[in-house]
Amino acid sequence: MESTERLSAPLVLEYPFTRTTGPVIGAFLTGLREKIVLGIKRHDGTVLVPPTEYDPETSETLTEMVEVAQQGEVTTWTWVQEPRPQSPWDSPHALAMIKLEGADTPMLHAVLADGPEELEVGMKVRIKWREVTEGHIKDIEGFIPIGENND
């Protein structure tokens, strides 16, 4: 070996485990693949979306899954002018918390609007699904405003 040659060895970063998403998150993700949205009933009767196996506040086990609507309202929003490289969106969009009809908690996702002037708290939006769904939160391409030009 030439003395000027730099020693090197390959380093492959990997995650050599298979994770399962369990009976609740798994059901939610499978629902997305089928283009439906599932929540879970908490002991006080309210519906948590997206669902978790345990109540995030009381830690009670939750089991009763319920389907919620595919439209709802924006509870808060911000505008992302320059999406980061890893982001599922490559053009400016709103990030928002959206409470679906039938749900009592809002979920984070994007609102696909042309500019921040189109956004307001309380506005109605509905899911736009990706053409090919695979059981992932990104099966929802985003939410689009329910209005004149959006059927």
């Binding site: 978790t52 911000t78 890893q86 599922p88």
Partner: protein, 338 residues
């Protein structure tokens, strides 16, 4: 409760540090040992806080132990959290009665990578992280709710920016463009590399090591839900509870050191803990230089410094971790024993 005091502190923050983590911590740890005249063999317990996610390497804290000099072997622990939680673990160790002195330190060096990416990885791995929301956007979602509900006003944000030194006056604040609507640059943190080291001592030792020990008379930490939807973004029940359990309201608070990286957080924390707008400024503001894993412990160091120099006798120090104030630690430091 066994009385524990902060008896020495050293810290350093810079926007982009050329030193690595060991080079950064050696002078700080040497400094606190010199201040107290202790060497590592005199220190019963060493506890640190740092982030493997930030370093991009598992067990990265083990390398930084070189800055301590762990030979002969030392009793040591680490938290993947802000150093304020390393201090909490150490305080518990004091309560167990097994130690009289301790070294607590923490550090973060975000400048080589993207802190926004690292912060995204702390979010829910199935529902939120795949959408890669950046920290400012998440703070903005909270800010809009606070503004919409009238819990805070734009003028209050402007005044907070002036108070914390990110805007010259209201006019300057309102002339800034929106960074993450409705937040402006002056509402959001500038990140820094940095580290902080403290020496703690028990009631039997503290007076030997420090002229005016900063006694920890109350400390507690609490956590709110991880699920974004389950949280009310306009309230921070965990900090309210922590403040109550730390006995914040058992006496007058002379000054506050809040780990508020956003103007909205400063205002919300004050509201939740029933604190007024302070007459005395904080000694440093995380919004001007926020260091992941060190900002919280630095608040405790700054609180102790204001007791050592006699400018305050009862100080509240606060640390936070997780998205938009999810986890909160409240510590009350006092100059004189009650």
């Amino acid at each position: 409760m066994r009385k524990v005091a902060v008896v020495a502190a050293a810290s350093r923050q810079e926007e982009k540090m050329l030193d690595n983590e060991v080079e950064m911590m050696v002078p700080l740890i040497t400094d606190v040992r010199t201040q107290t005249g202790l060497d590592q063999t005199d220190i019963c317990f060493t506890c640190s806080g740092s982030s493997d996610f930030l370093a991009g390497q598992a067990f990265s804290f083990v390398m930084t132990l070189d800055a301590v000099g762990p030979v002969p072997p030392i009793a040591e622990s680490h938290v993947e959290m802000d150093g304020a939680w390393a201090l909490y673990e150490t305080w518990v160790k004091f309560q167990m009665g097994v130690i009289d002195t301790a070294l607590v330190y923490s550090y973060g060096k975000p400048s080589p990578g993207s802190l926004q990416d690292v912060l995204s990885t702390q979010l829910d791995p199935y529902y939120v992280a795949p959408l890669w929301p950046d920290a400012h956007s998440v703070a903005a979602l909270q800010a809009r709710l606070l503004l919409e509900q009238g819990a805070i006003t734009p003028d209050e944000l402007a005044d907070c920016a002036v108070r914390t030194g990110t805007a010259e006056n209201r006019e300057d604040y309102f002339s800034q463009p929106l960074l993450s609507d409705p937040l402006r640059e002056a509402d959001c943190p500038t990140y820094a590399d940095g580290g902080v080291a403290l020496i703690l001592a028990s009631e039997e030792k503290a007076d030997e090591l420090c002229d005016r020990p900063a006694w920890i008379t109350g400390i507690d930490h609490r956590i709110d839900a991880h699920h974004f939807g389950a949280r009310d973004f306009t309230a921070v029940p965990s900090v309210r509870l922590a403040a109550q359990n730390a006995g914040v309201h058992d006496g007058p608070i002379d000054s506050t050191e809040l780990h508020a990286a956003y103007t909205t957080h400063d205002l919300l924390l004050r509201k939740e803990m029933g604190l007024g707008i302070p007459d005395t400024p904080q000694r440093s503001y995380p919004i001007q230089a926020d260091t992941l894993m060190a900002s919280g412990l630095l608040r405790i160091a700054e609180a102790a410094r204001s007791i050592w120099d006699g400018s305050a006798n009862r100080v509240l120090a606060h640390a936070t971790a997780g998205p938009i104030l999810q986890q909160n630690l409240v510590c009350v430091l006092e100059g004189k024993e009650n």
